[in-house]
Amino acid sequence: MRGTPIVSKLLGIPPQALFGQLLIGLINGSFYALLSLGLSVIFGLLNIINFAHGAQYMMGAFVAYFLLQYAGLGYWWALLIAPLLMAAIGMALERTTLNRLYHLDHLYGLLLTFGFALVIQGVFRHEFGSSGLPYPIPPQLSGGQNLGFMFLPNYRAWVIVFSVGVCLGTWFVIERTKLGAYLRAATENPALVRAFGINVPRMITLTYGFGAGLAALAGVLAAPIYQVNPLMGADLIIVVFAVVVIGGMGSIMGSVITGFALGVIEGLTKVFYPEASNTVIFVIMAIVLLIRPTGLFGRSP
């Protein structure tokens, strides 16, 4: 920490402001991490580049809004119901359409999910307009703490803790449990795994459902911060793809760490050169691809 005052002096801002911005960066990074985690799981295990991820995230937020508006069910219920519902819809999608594409090139899955995303966003925009719908912060998490160097809203603190938990949990399940071992084996050699009497198609369906559920979960988390907006996913998904590419396609821990790190870098850009804050991630992506084409944590094919 001794270096910090020097760094902040060099950069011309007080250390308090720097800490504040670092924390904000981590919070935004947790959204990137959560979303890129879902993408990574789906890509790693299904080899599908899920462009509908942004739309699933947006639908998660909308489910939260509908639950509150029409069923009187608040945030905590939404946190449970929205991911389950979206997982179910995701699995139906996988069963009926995606499963026909596994033997084809990646590009077909990408085009199909991209088409779904456009249709879904178009329908929501037509029905609900583009300015978004309000969603309140749950009363238990409203207000905030004065940390001395910044005012930290309780809700943002919750977002960071919750998403770190989810990321670690997912990583643990896939890398450290028997179920995860089956999943990884099924992607390496489905025929062999099937020979052991394991229902591979069902596992793949469940995995896609899990990925879609993660997207919806991020959507519910985002609803109280941003407007519930038909375009919220489209705006974010491009950045998240960049995060996945930088982290290395299919690497779960890689995308989580990259998500948080890029959130911080983006946050710092917003202080020093805000005009570039929505391009900095792509600059980094270009550099990483030049040096390590498989991403920072990616395995060579």
Partner: protein, 402 residues
Amino acid sequence: MRKHALIALMALALLAGPVHAQISDGIVKIGVLNDQSSLYADLAGQGSVVAARMAVEDFGAAAKGLKVEIIFADHQNKADVGSQIARQWYDAEKVDLILDVPNSGVALAVNQITRDKGKAFIVSSAASSDLTGKACSPNTVHWTYDTWALANSTGNAIVKTGGDSWFFITADYAFGHALERDTEAVVIKSGGKVLGKVRHPLNNQDFSSFLLQAQASKAKIIGLANAGGDTTNAIKQGAEFGIVKGGQNFAGLLVFLTDVHALGLEKAQGLIFTETFYWDLNERTRAFAKRFAERNRQIHPTMIHAGVYAGTLHYLKAVEALKSDDGAKVIAKMKEMPTDDPLFGKGTIRADGRKIHPAYLVEVKKPAESKYPWDYYKIRATIPADQAFRPIDQGDCPLVKK
């Protein structure tokens, strides 16, 4: 069937003969060019198309034998896309008038293209006061409002009530820069000071970083020189970061009715800003709003929609009087004729293209004060027409002889 249609068309052409004399290809073709899909789609978008159609119907174009056709396109807030559509419309599709065009960056590009092609351009959404200043054109009318009018009305009112130190959160493109520049001038002129500013990319999701910088500046007023989704997101996240509780206040320099609707009164209450039209002003505006909402998913008209309606109406009157749809001539005629429409009342268009009418300083009602759907504003003050806009000699418009 086809024969009948042909005969009907010929009859129509004969009947409408005199009017058609100098109308290019017999049709007045109007193109609504705006954001149909992104952050400005509710405040302009399809609503502007509805408003233009209503103006054509209310003008009674069909009964007068004038054939008017309306088309629309999405410029995606990209100047290159907008320019390309404008060129194609003018060159290939024989469009005579382009309407609306939110996003000052795109509007400035279309302004120049319209001038080069000798067509007509009526701006409702775009805000930059440069459209009637440095970039003014004999082919352009700037109808609804501009950055100078917003800055003058809102800026003055806020500095007078004690908000004398400002921090700007500005959208990083032509519109944000113009709004920040014009507001800063008003703040300094009224004895206030600007403590800092930060510029964010258009269509930004997360404002926490910028809000934190604004908080650290200790400025009394955080001026939001942005619009649409950017403004609502900043205000919503500002509440989360305790901006107002901490003693600072937001000045939404450009807020639309649809933004207030999206935020909800709970979050938007107390905001003070400037509009040149509110649907609940009088009987005539209410009647318009009712008809409009029925055709626009119950969304009530913003001042942009009102400007598109009134601008189209006045344009058609000029075309009728002139019996021509030649761009520069119609715009000249529009400037010559006094304006009169149900939404803005009586007014004029100046030599620099600036449409003149009163502006309203409004305050968003508390949830308890709102009695019916879309009952959102209290009118705090009316800025008379002759004070609402930048004096004609201060805009550096080359069309104005000094």
